[in-house]
């Protein structure tokens, strides 16, 4: 289904933040905001909930640590116990360093891969920019026009009052 989008382009983060707050106050549906850097305070302004990634990372870290303790125990004490200087076969304290490293490895690799997965980032993905220069020095707010409360002239007035440098309407074939 195609969607009608309204794009407002701004020159700096303060104007963008104000425009996002104003749009949300009036109940417009914000599809996304594009920025050349991570603007602080934008997630509250857009009303985004906290990311669930930390839980994934925590779970993967635990999984890595658990698997590693089991593996060290299994190789050293069960599969082929080797007497090394009379040390006990199950030398749990000596397993701590490698367990820690593997925990960090699982958590870090998991964090990065799940980030790529949830953001749908992969090599060869074709880039879709709402307007040019959003990776350089422009900030773009993309609103959805199908909303019943949406009125292009009102948005135009608000955005122009906040020093928008460019406004345009777009038709998007598919928005996720």
């Amino acid at each position: 289904m195609s969607k009608r989008l309204f794009v407002g382009v701004f020159e700096n983060e303060q104007d963008t933040l104000k425009a996002v707050r104003a749009s949300r106050q009036r109940g417009f549906k914000i599809v996304d905001v594009y920025a050349p850097y991570a603007v602080h305070g934008l997630e509250e302004a857009m009303g985004l909930g906290p990311s669930r990634l930390p839980w994934i990372v925590f779970a993967l870290g635990l999984l890595g640590a658990g698997l590693k303790v089991w593996f060290e125990f299994w190789t050293t004490a069960i599969d082929w116990p080797v007497n090394v200087g009379g040390k006990p076969f199950n030398s749990l304290p000596a397993f701590v360093p490698v367990t820690f490293e593997v925990m960090v490895l699982f958590a870090a690799v998991g964090a990065v891969l799940s980030f790529f997965f949830v953001c749908r980032l992969f090599p060869g993905k074709s880039t879709v920019l709402p307007v040019s220069r959003v990776t350089d020095d422009r900030f773009a707010i993309v609103l959805e026009e199908t909303d019943s409360r949406f009125e292009a002239s009102e948005v135009q007035r608000i955005f122009e009052g906040l020093y928008a440098v460019h406004l345009e309407e777009q038709i998007a074939a598919e928005v996720d």
Binding site: Q14, F71, W80, V98, L129, S132, T135
Partner: protein, 458 residues
């Protein structure tokens, strides 16, 4: 109220730049043709690299007899170089992860290059244990994998196995951290590129990044997670390196002081290497507005801090040797300071303890050539520290009939030079093909200490 405090701070980036100017300042030198100076530097460093490749090829073909090792001194140059390079890497993680957690926003100008330095230093470090195994083609035996010998597993009680896991995890995590930080900048390069090959390559590497704030929010979370994981990781890595020594029973190595001592030493040497590289890079790439005298000043202060911790550790080692009542321990330390290798010990003390004290003076910290020279001295001093710890302790242990001396062969020196060649070759290529400054992060701190946007429209 918070705004009033912010405007009182001096700006982090000089020259009152616009956002577009930052993109231009960092990306334009990469798009221009390299300077003659860059070609000269690359020629010199890649010649050293070639020397190293030849030296390694020779010692692998002929065998470990090409080294100056003997039955008394089984660890010397290789392990010294390994610990030296691993230590260098630690400052990069300090800047990228620990200073990030402490909200030190000045790190944005130096973190990209410091992280690159970490990755290259770990690559240099990785060479030495591998060739030290004597049969580097079996280096994969260090990892536990199902094999046809039983399966015979690695000994998980051995610090050398811990080291193998620590270094490989450290390299993987550092490389990912660096790439995640690079992602928005690769998108910036892609979108401003005119050459087709650059656009295509940056397009593939930037994974379709388009600056969507939904992605930015998760990006910030992942960055924080990686910083949080990287901080204990970097401490664990040098702790484990120090256990390679501390878990043995050799006087001079068998000390509970080793982990904090090694971690502080690592950050000390790494910070000195960051200063060396940054001072060269800001000059070569004309980045004086981004890597300012304030950055150099702060890094110099970290050098003094860690120098004092290292100095305290030297003193503590002597005190503990005295206090332990063990005549072997006492002998090892007297032998370090007054024995046949006294010159190495005093080189270490003067480079690591005495010379950095000059940095207490504000005028010296503000004079870039002086900071550069001091940073070189620290690099030398920290190499000698590892040499002193490893070689003097081994050369004279419990039985005088075991005592022997050590001198490096030409092959070992060529290998060390080769590692410097690899390091600088990679760093020079990095300066050409990757934005040296984290563009997206610097844009976020541009407004620090500047009048606010309200004023712009008036």
């Amino acid at each position: 109220m918070a705004d009033a405090v912010l405007t009182l701070r001096p700006p982090l980036i000089e020259g009152d730049k616009s956002i577009a100017q930052v993109t231009h300042d960092v990306c334009a030198p990469m798009e221009a043709r390299p300077s003659r100076l860059w070609w000269l530097a690359l020629a010199a460093s890649s010649s050293l690299l070639l020397l190293g490749v030849l030296a390694i090829g020779y010692q692998v073909a002929v065998g470990v007899g090409t080294w100056g090792l003997n039955r008394t001194i089984g660890w010397a140059f290789d392990i010294t170089n390994f610990v030296f390079w691993i230590g260098i890497g630690h400052a990069g993680t300090l800047i990228s992860a620990i200073l990030f957690l402490f909200r030190q926003r000045w790190r944005t100008s130096v973190n990209r290059a410091a992280e690159a330095m970490t990755i290259f230093a770990v690559m240099c470090a990785g060479i030495f244990p591998i060739i030290h195994t004597g049969r580097p083609w079996f280096a994969y035996w260090l990892f536990p994998y199902p094999n046809t010998r039983g399966s015979l597993w690695v000994n998980f009680r051995s610090p050398l196995v811990w080291d193998c896991f620590a270094i490989s995890t450290y390299f993987t995590v550092s490389a990912m951290f660096w790439f995640i930080g690079l992602l928005p900048d690769l998108a910036t390069i892609r979108d401003r590129a005119t050459a087709k090959w650059r656009r295509t390559l940056a397009g593939i590497l930037s994974l379709g990044w388009n600056g969507s704030y939904r992605a930015w929010q998760r990006y910030e979370v992942v960055y924080l997670m990686l910083a949080g994981l990287g901080t204990p990781l970097v401490i664990s890595v040098h702790t484990i390196v120090s256990w390679d020594f501390a878990t043995s029973v050799l006087p001079g190595w068998h000390a509970t002081l080793f982990p904090p001592y090694f971690v502080a030493g690592a950050i000390f040497s790494g910070m000195a290497m960051v200063l060396t590289l940054m001072i060269i890079a800001r000059k070569l790439m004309r980045l004086e507005d981004y890597i300012t005298l304030r950055h150099i000043d702060r890094m110099a202060k970290l050098v003094i801090l860690t120098s004092c911790i290292v100095g305290l550790s030297y003193a503590t080692e002597f005190f503990i040797a005295l206090y332990s009542g063990s005549s072997y321990e006492q002998f090892v330390f007297l032998n370090r300071a007054l024995g046949p290798m006294f010159w190495a010990y005093w080189t270490m003390v003067s480079c690591n303890l005495l010379i950095p004290q000059l940095l207490w003076f504000r005028r010296i910290r503000a004079y870039v050539p002086a900071v550069f020279v001091i940073s070189i001295f620290v690099n030398i001093g920290m190499w000698f520290e590892r040499f002193v710890i490893i070689v003097t302790s081994l050369s004279r242990d419990f039985l005088p009939s075991n005592w022997f001396h050590y001198a490096p062969t030409r092959i070992e020196i060529a290998t060390l030079l080769g590692s410097f060649g690899l390091f600088f070759t990679l760093f020079l290529l990095f300066c050409r093909f990757v934005p040296v400054i984290a563009v997206a992060e610097v844009k976020g701190v541009l407004k620090y200490g500047r009048p606010h946007a309200e004023a712009i429209h008036e």
